[in-house]
Subunit: 318 residues, 2 copies
DNA sequence: CTGAAAGCGCTTACAG
DNA sequence: CTGAAAGCGCTTACAG
């Protein structure tokens, strides 16, 4: 085990604790011979500064927590998370910060994750996939922790967030289907306790109405943002309305599930049924045929999440 | 912002710092009136103990790091990780520990993750998906951090690990195919810089030899433990050896990819080509038809990883 | 450029 | 059961 610098390096150096620590912290005001001698001793001892002692003074942890309150099955199935985490992980690394991911499978684990985030382990937090009136963002903020939410937070939650244009994107997707002269446009929605689910569904309604049509509840089914949910939803929709000729799925993962159901039912895509997804993720490319999808810029979303959670400078674009 | 207990609760309580801290730490030796009064003050102040100060004394962080040195794409695509992380997350929660996941996309991010793990943020570490001669386990151990590896570590790395019986499982799978009178048994291997890849391939060879057959390099293709790799491998295999009638894939994800390639080529499964996977994960159930697969007990693996990384007591079984 | 003091906010003995 | 001291290992001024 390692010991504090005070008690070890000092012995090797015959000097006070000041010099070694100045070397560790890359202070420019250290004589070169002293620096080299100290560096040799540090390497030899395998000395590592005590982070708790440092954090106690600096009040920084050099890490940012990312919390996703979803079952791992859903986190790990959806390329949206893989992509956005990849981006923000790289963004934090460039700022000398470590991204740490905390996941929660149950209310008990959610409480534990909240404790972790509020008890001084991280310098900031990014929250994904907030449902209903989750109090987590406000709890974290009341503890003075900078918080940013990925995606629009539930109504009434006062917190910064970064999101794509859910309404505009979904509206354009449905409009595109209508312009193909499709007459029976279904939708597979996300969870309706999440703004992304609600807003994309609303845009589907608005696009129908803009084309002079009336939304029909029979043409809607909730797919819960999962592949299995998308598949099941399409099965239900086909049974209820066999004349469906178009579908807007609120995520690529659900669209991929819907494609499976369509193939199993012997429908051709897009000849018999046109399908559009949302995310424009890797999944949209890997289906047969490649899926049309609403693009979300992970580059922009990742960049803004990093900036806002670590208190960085504003960027040129918004 | 919150202030230390010393300066705030004391004012409210007119007592020394001792009593409030005894309440926070659930010491049983506090008079009930004092406890209640302190609890009220704590709730009112929103007081939270300073973790750095506590850690400085206790030398504990109440969290365990899990490191997976793979692109997020691979981590998030494979249900093996979702399942094992779900298990160990629950296991740590039951021990009042928080699981934090650190991922690395590049050598630079790997170094940063190593810094994070060695610089006193965690009380232990679980490492997955080690390649080649990764020095991470030994580096962590030299810093006094308990380390356990999920899956057999690369040759020569001295570290505790938890693994399933790769050879036994793969051997049984291939034997099963041979007993179905399949004559052209292919395999899609994992990466050959990972013991799980090497050992499952070796078992495939051993099972063939045990049946009096000679391994044929034309019947092997590396799928890198990804869905796309499995699909590509099967395409290559079908082109090279159109008479294949069986395949053992070293993971379910690769098997699922292989199924796609088989369907695209017009082969029926299992009539024309029998396929067996490895993991017995959710994917094995969701393919059409359900995939045969070698079972790995995530319950046992998760339990043992938790136990060994947090220094728990031995369990009854091994 | 370098040394030594003060202080970060807890926990841990140890008196009362 | 409760109070007050010592100490964890750093960083941050502040003298020299």
């Amino acid at each position: 085990m390692l010991e504090p610098l005070a008690s070890r390096a000092r012995l090797h150096l015959g000097s006070s604790i000041g010099a070694p620590l100045r070397v560790v912290n890359r202070s420019p005001t250290v004589r070169i011979e002293v620096r080299q001698s100290v560096e040799r001793a540090i390497a030899q001892l395998g000395y590592v500064p005590n982070r708790a002692a440092r954090s106690l003074v600096t009040r920084r942890n050099d890490s940012i927590g990312v919390a996703i309150a979803e079952p791992t099955g859903r986190i790990f199935g959806d390329p949206f998370f893989a992509e956005v985490l990849r981006r923000i992980g790289a963004g934090f690394a460039a700022r000398q910060l470590q991204l740490v991911l905390v996941m929660s499978q149950s209310p008990e684990e959610e409480r534990r994750a909240e404790r972790y985030l509020t008890r001084g382990h991280v310098d900031g937090a990014i929250l994904f996939s907030l449902h209903g009136g989750d109090p987590l963002p406000e709890h974290l903020q009341s503890h003075g922790i900078p918080v940013v939410v990925g995606g629009e937070p539930p109504h009434g939650v006062r917190v910064s967030y970064v999101d794509s244009d859910n309404h505009g994107g979904a509206f354009a997707a449905v409009k595109h289907l209508i312009e193909q002269e499709r007459t029976r446009n279904a939708t597979i929605t996300g969870p309706l306790d999440m703004p992304a689910g609600v807003t994309r569904r609303l845009a589907y309604h608005d696009a129908l109405r803009a084309a002079g049509r009336t939304p029909d509840a029979d043409l809607e089914e909730s797919g819960g943002f999962t592949r299995e949910g998308g598949q099941r939803s399409m099965e239900v929709l086909l049974q209820r309305c066999p004349d469906i000729d178009a579908a807007f799925a609120a995520s690529d993962l659900m669209a991929a599930g819907a494609l499976s159901a369509l193939y199993a039912a012997g429908r051709r895509v897009p000849e018999d049924v046109a399908v559009v997804g949302f995310d424009d993720s890797i999944i949209a490319l890997s289906t047969q045929p490649a899926l049309s999808s609403v693009h979300q810029s992970m580059v922009v979303m990742g960049r803004e999440l990093v900036r806002q959670s670590s208190g960085g400078p504003p960027t040129g674009k918004n």
